[in-house]
Symmetry: C2
Subunit: 396 residues, 2 copies
């Protein structure tokens, strides 16, 4: 019976796997584990009372309209405010509200990719992007990144050699997992390559507002019309509302709306109005985002200090300018971070091994540490436990 | 430039069209048009104050947990209550919360269908199902229905002749668009055919709670394990919350969850808790649903009476036992209902022509009339305007 039923699945469904991270997260949910594995916003920073008040206000003001079906492209006023916040070439007409930016990735993959088409991602990259892309069965080509983001020189070489992507995916600010920010020169280079080789750049920016220091570079779409920008309310307001957005050139926005109509009709009306209500209150947003930035900045420093104290030279890591992640590299080549995770969970600490963020899974030595959900004391204890795990054998 | 950019779209995106109904709805949104075209719940029946109270209660009780990321398969307590309400073989483990039941259709199409695979739908059928299916580029085979739903005798003939579907889609209670309810014998017959020919039956039931008269038959899954049941909060609570669900055999629930993870990570956490809160209050639900049923039952009668008064023999229609739609048939074979719609909009009334509900668009004489959103006086005026439109020439 099982064999028969399995045969009925589509080819994609038969080859699809649950993400390693999701499965790992299950293991690390035990209460004694100090988890730096998740990519969750800190619960303390979720604006419960503001959303409670906005919900009452929206339902009082709009009544049944807040609970009724809505247009597939999203609530007009929210599309306007999103386009205005993005600035530059962004228009309300090219803006589509999505069910989180995960859905934006899925819709873009659907409208751009046929099986076998080439997509370029940075290596390593956001796991959810890889999952969404995989459903269209493209050929995913990775281009290595460093502390300044994707190595566009390597990309240019590959393109010159004949690589012909339809789409390129990149997280520009404080990337997941590496925390790297794409340099100004590389943004300009990417835009020029997109124009020259006729591919669409998907510029994902979930973390841009969470900047601890330094100045933001202009987005890639400053220099090319072949760019789709993704944004989300998940990291600044609430991931549980599932409200994200994309801004695309008009010729691309139209098929995206048609795809979204088939996918879920539209994003929840009430949730769009909640996000609209909070984004519209600029003084409140400013204070709220400043509070998150101060909170995360302090935790990032804590984690870095604790890693230095407890692991010393055993780990190298970046000092991200914002976002939610520290990206580490175990200097002892005999330590494999997938094996280290098993030892770590035994010690009561968790992270995500770098292999999870590569389409080829070829990475043994790196690890992603999320610093948002543990306090100073917990981060110190987590680093201490990680150090213990790293001295255990065998961890290869 | 446009030609170049169009070429970059996937084959599916190039062939996808916005639904005719959605485009028509835009035309009929002028304030002077009495629209029976939409399939919207009556605004008066959307429980604004109950959802306002539930939102405050949920946020007070759960705090940040109501706004945080959640499991892809949905909030455990909601999956339990959905399975319990469905009864029979339904289990919480096989239940997945979806972003409306539109998403359930999209996920089922993804995990079951490769291009060219055969899907059977009733003719006519729900337009949103056709859109979701089309994205997987299957071969859609229609089987005609009558006042007792899909003609399973015709299906049995086609299967005996060699048709080999992977999936069959049917709305069992007060179908959209015909208002027909699948008879007991045909349910049993469908279940037997699914077992014999090894296909999955998708039994969609958005309207089942809206029964004006008569007794509900057992669902198809009573007689087969090869059935997925879809449900939704859209028609009994709020479509704008985008909360639906499916209950599937376990071997099928697993790939659906993997597909959903890539599609939108999970359905909005707050919205799931709102629906859970209202569904859990059984006395309130009973009163609330009884009020909707009385309200819609009265409007259905009004529309039928008004059609008889104003159109007489010019239209034949069913008297549905529940749901939101009256299905009409223009008796004058020279009247084409697509052309009639143009004349109708000029008269200030709107409906959906039957061709919109067929994958082959081969229907000239039928029309779907939604009776939920107009009051008695408006329904009478709408029928009067429709009669005027029907006497205009040319309407072919």
């Amino acid at each position: 019976m099982l064999a028969v039923t399995f045969d009925i699945l589509s080819e994609r469904a038969r080859s699809a796997r649950s993400s390693a991270v999701r499965d790992l997260l299950r293991l690390t949910e035990q209460p004694h584990v100090l988890s730096m594995a998740g990519g969750l916003p800190a619960s303390e920073m979720l604006p419960v009372s503001a959303i409670r008040a906005a919900s009452a206000e929206v339902l009082d003001r709009l009544g049944p309209a807040a609970l009724q079906y809505g247009p597939t492209e999203g609530v007009a006023a929210l599309r306007h405010i999103v386009a205005a916040r993005l600035g530059g070439s962004a228009t309300p007409e090219g803006t589509v509200i999505t069910t989180g930016s995960q859905q934006a990735l899925d819709l873009l993959a659907r409208v751009l990719l046929d099986p076998g088409d080439v997509v370029v991602t940075e290596t390593p990259t956001y796991l959810g992007a890889l999952s969404a892309l995989h459903w269209q069965r493209p050929r995913i080509e990775g281009v290595e990144g460093d502390h300044d983001g994707m190595r566009t020189d390597l990309l240019a070489d590959r393109l010159a050699e004949g690589l012909r992507p339809k789409m390129l995916y990149v997280v520009t600010e404080f990337a997941n997992p590496t925390g790297a920010t794409l340099s100004l020169e590389r943004r300009q280079h990417l835009a020029a390559l997109a124009e020259q080789y006729n591919f669409v750049v998907v510029e994902d920016d979930p973390y841009g507002a969470l900047r601890f220091r330094g100045v933001r570079h202009p987005p890639i779409r400053t220099w090319s019309d072949r760019v789709v920008t993704l944004g989300t309310a998940s990291k600044i307001l609430s991931p549980g509302l599932r409200v994200g957005w994309l801004t695309a050139p008009h010729w691309l926005a139209r098929p995206i709306v048609i795809a979204k109509q088939a996918a879920d009709l539209h994003t929840a009306t009430l949730n769009q109005h909640l996000v609209l209500s909070l984004l519209s209150d600029e003084p409140w947003m400013k204070t709220h985002v400043a509070a998150i930035v101060a909170f995360y900045g302090s935790r990032a420093e804590c984690l870095q200090r604790s890693l230095t104290v407890h692991l010393g030279d055993a780990v190298e890591f970046n000092a991200p300018d914002g976002g939610m992640f520290v990206w580490g590299h175990m200097t002892d080549p005999s330590i494999r971070t997938e094996a280290l995770l098993n030892a770590a969970v035994e010690q009561g600490v968790a992270f995500v091994p770098g292999s999870a963020f590569r389409h080829d899974a070829l990475d043994n030595s790196t690890l992603r540490l999320c610093f948002t959900t543990l306090n100073a004391e917990q981060l110190n204890e987590a680093a201490s436990r990680l150090a213990k795990a790293a001295t255990q054998t065998p961890i290869r």
